[in-house]
């Protein structure tokens, strides 16, 4: 070994490779939480579906630890022990549920810790949390099988229905196939449309009417809503009733009067029915006329008589004074 440079180069090679090995070892170890502070959790399952030691444990989708041990505790339960990062401990509550899932369709199995609603204290080191055993693929397929059979029955029925529809059987078939009925339906719908339009208009008017009714100054409102007006209306009605009764009495009296007018022997009946009487009355009236005319001539003559002239002048003067 002559030169120092070759020694140094050899040293560099050794140091670099050792470092690579150490870093790789550390990185792999840190994946299994060998160098961090950890705490333990456990959960009992009836079936772990091929979960292995070293599989990841996820809490809310983050890898927080690994499965450290899997073992039977009795003839039907498997205890899965997990080693989780210490810093995640405050966030896992004691009511959380552990489930076993698969990372992708063909991926590794994983333990999911699912938080639950409600208040609970943080888990303690070594605590057991409740678990939910996964549905095995077989069970899943069984359920799917039943669903498939049901779907087959359903589609067969549907086929029958669509066939009868296409051939025009039943109400729906008629509806689909019958062109006349389609025209009728169209007409009915048009009628229905006009009818609704009209109803709409009527309703609008009715609404206007109701609005008027709501007007506080209107009579209808007062009649329906104002107690004083109601009282007045009440008294008016009672007065009207009383008036009606009185009118009734008057009418009764009138009735008897008219009846009595019809009876023979009464003055009015005589006046009405006797024709000779009217002729005599006419003659009387003519005589009276002639009498009054002659009386007027007499009075004119009297005025011009000296005995009575003074009196008539005085009368004229008074009449003038009154008029002036």
């Amino acid at each position: 070994m002559k030169s120092k440079a070759t020694k140094i180069r050899l040293g560099v090679l050794v140091v670099v490779t050792t470092l690579i090995l150490l870093v790789a070892a550390y990185l792999i170890g840190s994946r299994q939480n060998l160098f961090e502070e950890t705490f333990k959790l456990k959960a009992a399952f009836s079936n772990v579906n091929g979960l292995q030691q070293g599989n990841n444990v996820r809490f809310s989708g983050i890898n927080v630890g690994v499965v450290s041990q899997i073992g039977m505790i009795n003839d039907s339960m498997v205890m899965v022990r997990m080693r989780l990062e210490k810093e995640i401990q405050p966030f896992i509550k004691s009511n959380a549920i552990a489930t076993i899932g698969s990372d992708g369709l063909v991926g590794n199995m994983i333990v999911n810790i699912v938080p639950q609603a409600g208040e609970a204290s943080a888990v303690k080191d070594g605590e057991e949390i409740s678990s939910f055993s996964p549905i095995a693929t077989d069970d899943l397929l069984k359920t799917l099988n039943v669903t498939n059979e049901n779907a087959a029955l359903l589609t067969a029925d549907l086929l029958k229905v669509t066939r009868s529809l296409l051939s025009g059987q039943g109400t729906l078939g008629t509806l689909l196939k019958d062109t006349v009925m389609a025209g009728d339906l169209k007409q009915s719908i048009a009628n229905l449309k006009t009818a609704t339009e009209r109803t709409n208009r009527s309703l609008q008017r009715f609404e206007g009417w109701m609005n008027e009714l709501d007007n506080r100054e209107g009579l209808l409102y007062k009649l329906t809503a104002d107690p004083e007006t109601a009282k007045e209306a009440d008294s008016i009605l009672s007065n009207l009733a009383a008036g009606g009764q009185k009118l009734n009495g008057v009418l009764d009296d009138l009735d008897t009067l008219v009846n009595s007018l019809g009876k023979e022997g009464g003055t009015l009946h005589y006046l009405n029915s006797d024709t000779t009487m009217t002729k005599r009355l006419e003659r009387i009236m003519i005589n009276v006329e002639g009498g009054t005319r002659s009386f007027e001539e007499n009075m004119e003559a009297l005025r011009h008589h000296w005995l009575f002239r003074k009196y008539f002048r005085k009368m004229e003067k008074e009449a003038e004074n009154n008029g002036g």
């Binding site: 070994m1 002559k2 070759t6 020694k7 180069r9 050899l10 090679l13 050794v14 670099v16 490779t17 050792t18 690579i20 090995l21 790789a24 070892a25 990185l27 792999i28 170890g29 994946r31 299994q32 070293g54 063909v106």
Partner: protein, 258 residues
């Protein structure tokens, strides 16, 4: 015919026995003073730094090509996002160590076989023995130790560059960021991938050094012997690498239940 088959079996068992004895002698001598530190460092530099460009280029290209070749298939399944985990596991567990070991078998084992072989042919080794220097200690132990120590380093660098090459393909073809790629790589990797893979690279290095020096040390006379020593060193080292790899995988399988 029967004779030749019998001879071959005899040769094979003889060779195995001699190689085992050679390995035992290495372990005996390796932990006994004096240590040839300077020669060890020189050999480390020879094996490590001198192989570095070759290993780096190979690793980088392997990562690049592996990703390019598997991409269409993964795309067919809509699983391109699994590329980092797939590439990282295949490179770190298997392809990286084996490819780098084979490269080193070609470069280092043949070099050792030729170097020590020519020393044997030119009777330099005999001269060393006469002058009181232990040739086994000075030539063999330092070289085997150097390959044993340096091969893991080369493998680690080769793996790193391979993953980087894979990242470049993923980044240009699929818009995968550096962070995301290496996050997924280290998500996929576990200690059970890294530790056995690294341990077996020590064995690869040991096999390369052992076979290379053994071929040279037991070299027959003549220049043809030197060529045969170099040739057999490469062939046997490569074969041993696969055998060791197979054994390592089987043993790892027993322990980790891959």
């Amino acid at each position: 015919m029967i004779y030749s088959i019998q001879k071959r079996f005899e040769d094979f068992f003889l060779f195995t026995a001699e190689l085992s004895l050679f390995a035992m002698r290495y372990f005996r001598e390796a932990f006994r003073r004096p240590f040839e530190i300077n020669e060890l460092l020189r050999q480390c530099y020879n094996v490590g730094n001198r192989s570095l460009p070759l290993v780096a280029l190979t690793g980088f290209i392997i990562g690049l090509v592996l990703t390019l070749q598997t991409r269409p298939t993964l795309q067919e399944f809509g699983a391109v996002s699994w590329m980092p985990s797939m590439v990282s596991i295949s490179i770190v567990r298997e392809i990286g160590p084996v490819i780098v070991a084979l490269i080193c078998a070609g470069r280092v084992a043949s070099g050792l076989g030729a170097e020590i072989g020519s020393m044997r042919v030119t009777e330099q080794i005999d001269a060393m023995e006469v002058s009181g220097t232990n040739p086994f200690k000075y030539l063999v132990v330092t070289r085997i130790t150097a390959t044993t120590l340096m091969l893991p380093m080369l493998v680690i660098l080769g793996d790193t560059l391979g993953l980087y090459g894979s990242y470049i393909v993923e980044n240009t073809k699929g818009d995968v960021s550096f962070m995301l790629f290496f996050n997924q790589v280290f998500d996929a990797l576990e200690y059970q991938d890294i530790v056995p893979a690294t341990l077996k690279t020590f064995l690869f290095g040991f096999a390369i050094g052992l076979v290379g020096t053994f071929a040279g040390y037991t070299c027959k006379k003549g220049t043809a012997g030197v060529g045969r020593a170099a040739n057999s060193a490469v062939v046997i080292a490569s074969l041993l690498i696969f055998i060791i790899d197979f054994m390592a995988v089987v043993i790892t399988d027993l322990f980790y239940e891959l």
